[in-house]
């Protein structure tokens, strides 16, 4: 067999590149200078103390982080972190170059899967969303698409976490109102993992936290960041930056602010517990100045997310990005156009986590039908990202000779083998006109609704496998949280 000399290491898969090396360096220097000169507000004493101890200037809540401290923190960021499901099986590696698409947290509203009308998000939706995401082949991790409205005020996060973690074996991302709830979510993770050490060895969820743009690590965000760092809970620490409002309207300026405020969390976490996993990035888009809405379908979302992905990876961190979201209110053409644009861009740039697949109405309404649509689009984008394999087998010169001019390839073994690699749609319609007509002329929306309802009705998910004693432990944690929260409200 001949040895081929084509270069297989360069561009084996497509590489989408936005920023030049010089541009990256300029943005990075902007970040370093901002952290040192402008600084950031850090509303947690323990965090400020550790920053001060390592050479940061602290003035009240304002902290100025010199570049050597940033470099020291970046030095201990782990290159890879493994996640596990509650059954202890590896389900994710958080590292540059691996991408997982999923939904996002906390919209107040949800599209009711039966009536298709917007309503408040309910507890039953959380486990349903987890199950559907568990079933979708291109959804790589689970989140809620909403904030539960029908449980005790202040415990929406905890109920969501308790219900979702049992209904999926995919990676789970969970948010929390405050550090107390984050601790309870951790306790649920520990109960499922089988002990504190077991959780440290095999963490079974990622905590999601947000600082506030511009440059404020508020008490709840930084309290949780500190807690997760100390307990080695992998965490996302990312702002939702609104171009023109909370950050500069110029994209480079937006990236400088967004990176700076996220890096505060990285620095605090690494100084407290070197090697703990922190993922940064976050929602990047513009304020639509005409409608005063945060534009989730804007092309700028994809542009800035791509640039930020390159920047975050440039400094050696995993990126948390977004795609598959839309500003439209119901499932329609705009849903597909905006989602496809952002999914494809995200796929080409390769962030680690890509959230918001299933966000509609500018992030205000979660829509599981949108997630199902996104799943199909992600599958298509993945084909392009897969590139083309070029070798003796795929060149098929011998098959071409066998078939010759005027023949066909349908009977070749080679065809049978390689046709299996072709992407097969689950929603896109390729019926003949007659078949489509016979089926009642279903539109894309009809097919999405049918597939989604099928999954809701028929896909069980893994929750029945959770051992009953662990279920009891989880119920106890929820009961104690109820007592804690209600005790608090009596004090007021």
């Amino acid at each position: 067999m001949a040895t081929t000399r084509a270069n297989q290491s360069e561009n084996k898969t497509p590489r989408f590149s936005l920023l030049s090396k010089d541009q990256k360096e300029e943005i990075y220097l902007g970040v370093v200078k901002t952290l040192a000169d402008t600084g950031a507000d850090v509303h947690n004493e323990e965090a400020r103390d550790v920053l001060k101890k390592h050479g940061c200037k602290v003035d009240g809540v304002r902290v100025y982080i010199p570049q050597e401290v940033v470099l020291k923190a970046l030095d201990t960021v782990p290159p890879t972190t493994t996640l596990y499901n509650w059954e202890g099986k590896e389900n994710c590696r958080i590292e540059i170059g691996r991408t997982y698409f999923g939904p996002g947290p906390t919209p107040p509203y949800f599209i009711d899967p039966e009536t298709m009308e917007r309503r408040k998000y309910l507890r039953k939706d959380a486990s349903m969303v987890a199950r559907v995401c568990d079933a979708l082949p291109n959804i790589g991790y689970v989140d809620s698409l909403g904030s539960i409205s029908d449980v005790t005020n202040g415990l929406a996060d905890l109920y969501e976490h308790a219900d979702q973690i049992q209904n999926t074996t995919k990676p789970l991302m969970s948010w929390a109102f405050n550090v107390e709830n984050a601790r309870d979510e951790h306790r649920i993770g520990i109960a499922l993992a089988g002990g504190e050490q077991a959780f440290r060895d095999k963490p079974n969820f990622v905590h999601y936290g947000e600082p506030i743009s511009p440059l404020v690590s508020d008490k709840h965000a930084i309290d949780k960041c500190v807690y997760c760092a100390k307990e080695r809970i992998p965490q996302v620490y990312t702002p939702c930056a609104i171009g023109g409002a909370t950050v500069p309207a110029s994209h480079a300026g937006q990236i400088v602010v967004a990176m700076s405020e996220a890096l505060v969390g990285v620095v605090v976490a690494q100084l407290l517990n070197p090697g703990t996993c922190v993922i940064i990035g976050g929602m990047q888009s513009i304020l639509d100045m005409k409608h005063s809405t945060y534009a989730y379908g804007a092309p700028e979302l994809s542009l800035m997310s791509a640039a930020l992905t390159e920047m975050v990876n440039y400094i050696g961190l995993p990126m948390f990005s977004q795609s598959g979201c839309t500003d439209t209110k119901k499932l329609e053409l705009q849903s597909g156009v905006e989602a496809t644009m952002s999914v494809h861009a995200a796929m080409l740039t390769g962030p680690t986590f890509v959230h918001d697949n299933g966000y509609t109405e500018s992030g205000k309404t979660g829509n599981i039908f949108q997630t199902v649509l996104d799943d199909e689009v992600i599958g298509m984008a993945r084909v392009i990202q897969g590139g083309i394999t070029v070798n003796e087998d795929t060149l098929a010169v011998e098959q071409i000779r066998n078939v010759g001019p005027g023949g066909h390839y349908l009977y070749e073994d080679h065809t049978l083998e390689h046709a299996k690699e072709h992407w097969r749609p689950s929603l896109m319609n390729r019926d003949s006109y007659e078949d489509w007509d016979t089926k009642g002329r279903p539109t894309m929306s009809d097919r999405i609704v049918k597939k989604t309802r099928d999954l809701i009705e028929n896909y069980e998910g893994p929750s029945s496998r959770v051992p009953s004693d662990v279920k009891k432990d989880i119920d106890k944690i929820l009961e104690e949280a109820e007592e804690r929260v209600q005790g608090k409200s009596q004090l007021h």
Binding site: G406, H408, L410, Y411, E412, T415, L416, A419, S432, Y433, E434, D435
Partner: protein, 212 residues
């Protein structure tokens, strides 16, 4: 015996040509009638292939494999059938019209029709209207199938139908048309009796025509 015939169907669905020939021979040697092997094993198997194809559970390369295996099995069965009078689903003549060199779809229809038990005469490609007329006279088929892949050659199917009329034999044969640009409306327009959007449907449509 029923089990054996079922196993032949399964081998056919899996497209294992050599294995199929062996099983068919064994069944005949074991006393099965060629009609039973044909109808209960092979035609039943191809019927399942057609159904699975239409349902999206089988894909063209697999269908072709089964059809080719069927063809190999027919080489054994056919001489025996003519001894005993044939399975008798009907005769089907098919060809691609003038100035059109496309044969994949047309051959697929031919194979599926053969799989459904039809005696199939595949005329080839780029055929003058006269060839179709002569073939109808010679083979006296129940159904004439025509295929065109190009919008530029599609009208030629109408020309063939006109030629059949001129020859006075239009009412002796049912005409079925197909090919990517062809539609139900177009088939009606040119006076064809039936249209099938794909090879699996062609079999159903052919059976309907024979019952009509």
């Amino acid at each position: 015996m029923e089990e054996k015939l079922g196993s032949i169907s399964q081998t056919l669905i899996e497209g294992k040509a050599d294995e199929l020939q062996k099983q068919v021979q064994e069944a005949l040697d074991g006393g099965a009638t060629p009609e039973d092997v044909m109808n209960q094993a092979l035609v039943a198997g191809m019927d399942a292939v057609g159904q699975q194809w239409k349902a999206g559970d089988m894909f063209i390369p697999e269908v072709i494999r089964s059809a080719k295996a069927m063809s190999g099995a027919m080489d054994i069965i056919r001489p025996k059938l003519s001894e005993s009078g044939g399975a008798g689903s009907g005769t089907f003549v098919i060809g691609t019209v003038l100035r059109d060199l496309h044969d994949i779809g047309k051959d697929l229809v031919a194979m599926m029709m053969e799989g459904a038990g039809f005696k199939v005469v595949n005329l080839g490609i780029d055929l003058d209207a006269e060839v179709f007329v002569d073939a109808v006279k010679e083979h006296k088929p129940d159904i004439l199938g025509m295929s065109a892949l190009l919008t530029t050659t599609m009208p030629q199917m109408g020309e063939v139908i006109n030629a059949l009329k001129e020859a006075g034999i239009r009412d002796q044969v049912k005409v079925m048309v197909g090919g990517a640009p062809v539609s139900e409306e177009y088939a009606e327009e040119i006076g064809a009796d039936s249209y099938a959007p794909n090879a699996a449907t062609a079999v159903d449509k052919a059976k309907e025509l024979l019952q009509a």
